[in-house]
C-alpha cells in the first residue's frame, strides 16, 4: 500500500493516459496522415527494401509502429507508451547522475515528435534507443565492459540514427561527465574520445562497406541540415519538415542544457536559457506543423469521400492570405500541396469556371500545374486524373509512384481501383498481394478480389461510366482539349466539360468560348433567363476586342448579364487610364485582378509581376 502513495507510482500512468488523450483526440488527423503514407507488410521483400541501407532498419521499425494508427486510438497508445517509457528511462538516467539539467536538451529532441519532424514517430524512436543505451551503460558496473559497450552502442546508434547523433553524442558525453563527478573522480577530457570514437568507427566502416553509396556514407553524422539518407523513396513529405529556425532553437536549447551540466566551467547556471529556447521551439513548431498536416489530411479525406463543399470551405481558409492572382513561384510548399485538392473540389462542385481567380492561378494554362517533383504532389496528381476520368494517365503515374516513393496505402488503393476500372486486372491482382500482407488492409484485398468477379464497387462503377468512348492521345500529362470536348459529351462525367471550359479560359482562347456558346448554354442553363458563369461572360465580351462583331449588337448575345456589361465598360475606361498614365498598374490589378479581362490583357503572371514591380519602383 505504501508504494501507491508515492507520486512516482502514479506519475507515469497519468502521463501515459494524458499523452494518449492528447494524441487520440487532438491529433488523430496527424496520425492518420502518417499511416496513410506507408504500408507495412509482413513479408521478406518489405524488409529487404530497408535492410541494406543505414537508417533503413529504423524506418522499418517506424513503419511497423505507425501502421497501428489505422485506428487513431490504437496509434495513440503506441505513441503514449513509447513516450512514457522514454521519460521513465530518461528520468532514471539523469537521476542516477544527479543532473537534471539535461532535461531541456533531451526534451527538445523528444518534442520534435509527430508534430514536426518529417519522420514523426521516428524521432521518438531515436530518443528511445538512445536512452535505452544510456540506461544500460549507467547501470553496468564493470568499467571496461561499460566503455567498450559504449563504443559498440554508439557505433550501432550511428548506423541506425545517422544525423540524430548530433544530439545523442553530447548526451552520452554529459552522462560520462556527470558520472565521474558524482563518483568524485577527476574528469579526464581524453575520455570524450571514447564516444566520439564509437561514432567515427561506425561512420568509417559504413564509408568502407557502403560503396558505391558514398552519398550516404559521405554525409557526416554531425551535420543536421537534412536527411543523411536522402533518396526520394524514403522521404515521405518534405513539406512538413520543420524550418531551420526550429532546429536552431532546439540546438540552442541543447547547448545551454549542456552548459548547465558543465556548470563549474561556466560559473553561472545557464540551463534556464535552454529551457526558454525549448519553449520557443515548441511554440514555433506546434501551430505551423500540426495544422499543416492535419489540414491536409482533413481536406484529403473530405475529397476522397466526395464531400466537396466541405472541402472547399476548408480550403478557403488556406488561401486567405494570398492575393487574388499570384504566380506559381509565390506558392509556398504547403500551398502547392493544397492546390490540387482545390482544383478537384472546384471541378466537382462545378465552380471551376466561376471561381477561376478566386484561388491562386499560375501563369501557364494548366488547371493542375503541379510537377511530380516530390511525393506530396504525386500524392494528389493521380487522384485528380482519376477524378476527371483520365484513368490511363493516373495509372501511369501510380505505377511509377509505387516504386519511386515506396508503396503507400493510398496510392496502392488508387492504383488497384484505376486498374479495375479499365479492366487491367492482371496488375491489379498483383498489387492486391501487397494488401494481403498487411495487417489492416487484408479485408480490402478480398473486397477487390471479389470485385474482379462481381464488379460491385461504387468507385469502379463510377469510373467505368467516365471511360472515354474512343481512343485518343494524351500528351504532356494534360488531356488534349479536343479530346476533352468529346469526352464531356458522355453522361456521368460533367467535370470534363467544366475542365474543358476552364482550360479554354486559361488558354485565353476566347474564340473557343464563343464557338461553344450553345454548349455552354446547354450545360449551365438551369432556369430562365440563362446566364453563363461569370468568367465565361467576361471571356465572351473579351472576344469582341478581336472581332469585328464588337461593332454589331453584342447586347443581343444571350447569357450576358447587365452587371457584366457595366463592369466591362468600366474596365475599358480604367484600362485606358492605365495606358494614359493616370492609373498605376497595381491600382488596376487591385480593382480588376479578379476578372478574366485583366487576365486576358496582361498575358502571363510573369509579365504582370514585372509590371507590378515596375509600378512599385
Amino acid at each position: 500500500m505504501q508504494r501507491f502513495k508515492k507520486p512516482e507510482f502514479w506519475a507515469y500512468p497519468i502521463l501515459m493516459v494524458g499523452l494518449w488523450a492528447f494524441f487520440a483526440f487532438a491529433m488523430p488527423d496527424v496520425l492518420e496522415f502518417w499511416e496513410k503514407n506507408q504500408l507495412f507488410r509482413f513479408s521478406s521483400d518489405y524488409w529487404h527494401f530497408f535492410d541494406h541501407e543505414p537508417f533503413g532498419t529504423l524506418i522499418y521499425v517506424h513503419t511497423f509502429l505507425i501502421q497501428f494508427s489505422y485506428y487513431p486510438w490504437l496509434g495513440a497508445i503506441v505513441y503514449a507508451l513509447l513516450f512514457t517509457l522514454t521519460a521513465w528511462l530518461f528520468n532514471r538516467c539523469v537521476a542516477t547522475n544527479g543532473n537534471r539539467r539535461l532535461l531541456p536538451g533531451l526534451l527538445s529532441v523528444a518534442l520534435l515528435l509527430p508534430t514536426s519532424a518529417n519522420f514523426g514517430l521516428l524521432v521518438l524512436l531515436v530518443v528511445f534507443l538512445a536512452v535505452v543505451g544510456a540506461h544500460c551503460w549507467i547501470y553496468w558496473k564493470n568499467r571496461i565492459l561499460r566503455y567498450s559497450c559504449q563504443v559498440i552502442v554508439l557505433a550501432g546508434l550511428t548506423y541506425l540514427v545517422r544525423e540524430y547523433m548530433v544530439w545523442i553524442l553530447p548526451f552520452y558525453m554529459c552522462l560520462d561527465w556527470g558520472r565521474t563527478r558524482q563518483n568524485g573522480q577527476k574528469f579526464n577530457p581524453l575520455f570524450l574520445l571514447i564516444p566520439l570514437g564509437g561514432t567515427m568507427l561506425a561512420w568509417g566502416l559504413e564509408a568502407w562497406f557502403c560503396a558505391p553509396y558514398e552519398f550516404i556514407s559521405s554525409k557526416s553524422p554531425f551535420k543536421f541540415t537534412g536527411n543523411a539518407f536522402s533518396p526520394s523513396s524514403n522521404i515521405p513529405f518534405n513539406y512538413f519538415r520543420p524550418k531551420k529556425i526550429v532546429f536552431v532553437c532546439m540546438e540552442i536549447a541543447t547547448f545551454f542544457s549542456l552548459a548547465g551540466v558543465f556548470y563549474p566551467f561556466f560559473k553561472k547556471k545557464l540551463d534556464w536559457i535552454g529551457g526558454l529556447f525549448l519553449i520557443g521551439g515548441v511554440l514555433w513548431i506546434t501551430p505551423i506543423q500540426v495544422k499543416s498536416i492535419a489540414d491536409f489530411q482533413q481536406v484529403d479525406r473530405l475529397c476522397r469521400n466526395y464531400q466537396w463543399e466541405n472541402a472547399l470551405r476548408k480550403l478557403d481558409s488556406q488561401w486567405e492570405k494570398f492575393p487574388v492572382i499570384t504566380s506559381l513561384s509565390d506558392f509556398t510548399n504547403t500551398h502547392r500541396l493544397f492546390f490540387g485538392h482545390t482544383k478537384i473540389a472546384l471541378l466537382a462542385t462545378r465552380k471551376a469556371t466561376n471561381k477561376l481567380f478566386t484561388y491562386p492561378q499560375p501563369a501557364f494554362p494548366l488547371l493542375f500545374p503541379l510537377a511530380m517533383n516530390n511525393r506530396a504532389e504525386c500524392f494528389v496528381l493521380p487522384s485528380y486524373y482519376t477524378f476527371v476520368g483520365e484513368f490511363s494517365e493516373s495509372l501511369h503515374l501510380n505505377y511509377d509512384l509505387i516504386t519511386c516513393h515506396c508503396i503507400s496505402a493510398t496510392i496502392l488503393n488508387a492504383t488497384i481501383i484505376s486498374s479495375l476500372i479499365v479492366d487491367d486486372t492482371l496488375p491489379a491482382f498483383k498489387l492486391t498481394h501487397f494488401l494481403e500482407k498487411s495487417l489492416f488492409y487484408r479485408h480490402q484485398a478480398s473486397v477487390y478480389k471479389d470485385s474482379f468477379q462481381r464488379n460491385n464497387l461504387p468507385a469502379i462503377k463510377r469510373g467505368k461510366q467516365m471511360l472515354p468512348f474512343y481512343d485518343y492521345a494524351v500528351a504532356s500529362y494534360i488531356p488534349d482539349k479536343n479530346a476533352v470536348k468529346q469526352h464531356m459529351q458522355q453522361q456521368g462525367n460533367p467535370y470534363f466539360y467544366e475542365y474543358f471550359i476552364s482550360l479554354c479560359l486559361l488558354d485565353k482562347n476566347t474564340k473557343t468560348i464563343v464557338d461553344e456558346h450553345s454548349n455552354i448554354k446547354k450545360f449551365y442553363q438551369k432556369g430562365k433567363p440563362f446566364f453563363a458563369p461569370y468568367h465565361i461572360q467576361e471571356a465572351i465580351l473579351a472576344s469582341f476586342n478581336y472581332s469585328p462583331s464588337r461593332y454589331l449588337y453584342p447586347q443581343k448575345i444571350e447569357g450576358i448579364s447587365s452587371d457584366v456589361w457595366n463592369d466591362y465598360w468600366l474596365f475599358i475606361i480604367d484600362n485606358q487610364s492605365y495606358f494614359n498614365g493616370s492609373t498605376t498598374f497595381s491600382e488596376l490589378q487591385k480593382k480588376w485582378g479578379h476578372t478574366y479581362w485583366f487576365y486576358d490583357c496582361y498575358l502571363t503572371m510573369v509579365d504582370m509581376e514585372s509590371k507590378t514591380s515596375q509600378s512599385i519602383n
Binding site: 526520394s232 490511363s392 491482382f429
Partner: protein
C-alpha cells in the same frame, strides 16, 4: 501424376520441362497454395542426387547444384516432387530439366518503372547468372537523378561499353578498356544525338539511331498504354578515333525514318529498321497517325576498310507482313536473325501483340508450313515456344549463339522480365524459363521492369562510383560529319543559337 498443363499451377516460376544452361544459378521456386510441404529429388545419369524437404520455398544448395549440372552437361535431369497441404492430400509431380551449353555468365540491364515517366530511381545492374547476384553499374541517385539508357557492350565484350545519360550531367559515355570518353553527339546536322548504339566488331565504330521520339498515352487503349513513334530518324556511325560522324544519304534522308541499328557479328552488314514517312493529316490524332507507321527490316553492306556503305537489302517487308519490324539481332555465326513484329509504331515494348520471329539467313532449312514470307528473298517463322499473348520485345543472343535472352510481360502485362530459351541448330527454341533468383518469390513483389538486357562475358568495366566520376569529365564535341564521304560543317548545338541568321 498430373499433366504438364496442370503442373504449371503448382509451382512458381514455372521451371517444368525446360532446357537450361550448365552454368545457371539454382532454379529456386516455390510451391503454390494450397500445397505447402514438399519433398524433392533431382537426379541425372551421373552424379549425386539432390534431395530436400521443406515448406513453400525450394532453394537448392548452389555448390551441389553446379556440381550436378556440370556432371550432367548435355544430359537430362529428372525432378520428382511430393506436395501436400494439410498432411493428408498429397500430389506427385515429375518433370525434367535438359542441361545444355553454357551461357554468358553476366548480363546487364536497366531497372525502371513500368511507365517510363519518372527517373527518380534508375539503376543499371549487372546480374551474375551463375550466382544469382547483382552489382550496380549505374545509380542515378549518385548523379542528380538523371536518366541513363542504351547501355551496350561490344559483342558481349565488357571492356567496351557505351551508354547515355540525359537530363543531368548528360552525354554519351564510351569506355574502351581504360580509355573513357564523354561525347556530345548532338550537332546542328543531327540535333537529337544518338540512341540505340551498336558496336562494330573492330571496336572503333559505333552506330547509332538518331531521332525525336514522340511519346503519348492512350486514353482508352490501356493495354497498349504508351505509344512512341519517331520523327527525323537517321542512322549515324561514330568513328571514335577520328571523332567524326559517318553516314550515307540513303540512311539519313528526311523522307525515310531509320532506327534500331545493329551490326552483324562480322561487321559486314549494318541491320536497321526503315519506314517511309506516312503522310499526316493536320487534324489527325497521334493515335491514328501512329497506326500508319510501319518499318521494314533492312541491311546495308559496310566496308570497314574504306568506311563506305554498299547495297541495301530488304529482309522484312511490311507490305508483305503487314506489320512493323524492330530490334534485329543476329547469332554470332550470322545464321539466324531474330526480330520483333508488332502491329504498328516504332516501339514494340507496349504492344502485347509484339512477338519474336526468326529468319534463317542462309536459307538452308527446309521450309514447312510454319515458315511464311518476310520479303522477296527471305522467310520467317514465329517462335511459337517463346511467344505469349503479351509483349515479347528486347532480345539478344549469347556469345555462343545458343541462348536467346528476351524480355516478356507474360506474367502481368506490365513488368518486363528476362526469359531464356535455347535455340538449336534447326532454329527450334525450347520452352523459355524466367531468370532465377535466390528468393523464389522475388518477382511477386518486385515492381520494376528489366529493360534492355545485354549479355556479357566478363564483369563490366564500370561501377556506380566510377560512373559518377565519369559524369564529371569534360565533354568532347564531334569534329565533323561525313555524308557520302563529303565533309559538312556542323556546329555544336550550344553555339547554333548564337550564329548569325541568314
Amino acid at each position: 501424376m498430373r499433366l504438364l498443363s496442370q503442373q504449371k499451377a503448382l509451382l512458381y516460376p514455372d521451371y517444368t520441362d525446360i532446357t537450361m544452361p550448365c552454368n545457371i544459378a539454382p532454379l529456386n521456386f516455390y510451391v503454390l497454395p494450397p500445397y505447402k510441404n514438399y519433398s524433392i529429388k533431382v537426379f541425372g545419369k551421373k552424379g549425386d542426387t539432390l534431395q530436400m524437404k521443406g515448406r513453400n520455398f525450394v532453394k537448392f544448395n548452389p555448390q551441389k547444384w553446379h556440381q550436378l549440372l556440370q556432371e550432367n552437361r548435355n544430359g537430362r535431369l529428372w525432378v520428382e516432387m511430393n506436395l501436400n497441404s494439410t498432411g493428408t492430400e498429397t500430389e506427385k509431380l515429375s518433370f525434367y530439366w535438359d542441361v545444355r551449353d553454357s551461357i554468358d555468365p553476366y548480363f546487364a540491364c536497366r531497372l525502371i518503372e513500368p511507365s517510363y515517366q519518372m527517373s527518380n530511381l534508375l539503376q543499371t545492374i549487372e546480374y551474375n547468372l551463375q550466382e544469382a547476384s547483382q552489382r550496380i553499374l549505374f545509380d542515378n541517385r549518385l548523379q542528380t537523378y538523371g536518366c541513363v539508357n542504351c547501355h551496350t557492350f561490344a559483342q558481349t565484350d565488357c571492356s567496351h561499353l557505351v551508354y547515355h545519360v540525359r537530363f543531368n550531367r548528360t552525354g554519351t559515355f564510351i569506355v574502351r578498356n581504360d580509355t573513357i570518353l564523354r561525347v556530345d553527339l548532338k550537332s546542328s546536322r543531327f540535333p537529337q544525338g544518338g540512341v540505340y548504339p551498336t558496336w562494330h566488331p573492330n571496336k572503333k565504330l559505333i552506330a547509332f539511331g538518331t531521332s525525336s521520339a514522340y511519346p503519348f498515352v492512350h486514353s482508352k487503349d490501356i493495354v497498349r498504354r504508351t505509344e512512341v513513334f519517331d520523327s527525323l530518324g537517321d542512322i549515324i556511325v561514330y568513328d571514335i578515333d577520328r571523332n567524326v560522324i559517318l553516314t550515307d544519304s540513303r540512311i539519313s534522308s528526311d523522307s525515310v525514318e531509320e532506327t534500331f541499328p545493329y551490326w552483324s557479328w562480322d561487321g559486314k552488314y549494318l541491320y536497321f529498321c526503315q519506314s517511309p514517312n506516312p503522310p499526316r493529316d493536320s487534324l489527325e490524332d497521334d493515335v491514328d497517325y501512329s497506326k500508319k507507321i510501319k518499318y521494314n527490316l533492312v541491311r546495308i553492306a559496310f566496308d570497314d576498310k574504306t568506311n563506305t556503305f554498299g547495297q541495301i537489302d530488304t529482309i522484312v517487308d511490311f507490305r508483305i507482313t503487314g506489320q512493323t519490324a524492330s530490334f534485329p539481332r543476329l547469332t554470332p555465326d550470322g545464321r539466324f536473325l531474330v526480330f520483333c513484329l508488332s502491329d504498328h509504331g516504332t516501339f514494340p515494348i507496349r504492344h502485347p501483340e509484339s512477338d519474336l520471329y526468326l529468319i534463317d539467313m542462309t536459307g538452308s532449312l527446309p521450309k514447312d508450313s510454319n515458315w511464311i514470307p518476310a520479303s522477296k528473298d527471305f522467310w520467317m517463322k514465329k517462335m511459337e515456344q517463346v511467344n505469349s499473348p503479351f509483349t515479347e520485345s528486347y532480345h539478344t543472343f549469347s556469345s555462343n549463339g545458343k541462348w536467346l535472352m528476351f524480355s516478356s510481360k507474360r506474367e502481368d502485362n506490365l513488368y518486363s522480365r528476362p526469359y531464356f530459351t535455347y535455340v538449336d541448330s534447326n532454329g527450334i527454341s525450347s520452352k523459355p524459363f524466367l531468370l532465377p533468383q535466390r528468393d523464389p518469390a522475388f518477382y511477386l513483389t518486385f515492381l520494376k521492369s528489366y529493360n534492355v538486357p545485354e549479355f556479357a562475358q566478363t564483369p563490366a568495366a564500370i561501377s556506380a562510383a566510377k560512373a559518377k566520376e565519369m559524369s564529371l569529365m569534360p565533354t568532347i564535341e564531334v569534329d565533323s560529319v561525313l555524308i557520302d564521304g563529303q565533309r559538312i560543317t556542323v556546329y555544336p548545338l550550344t553555339t547554333v543559337s548564337s550564329l548569325p541568321q541568314l
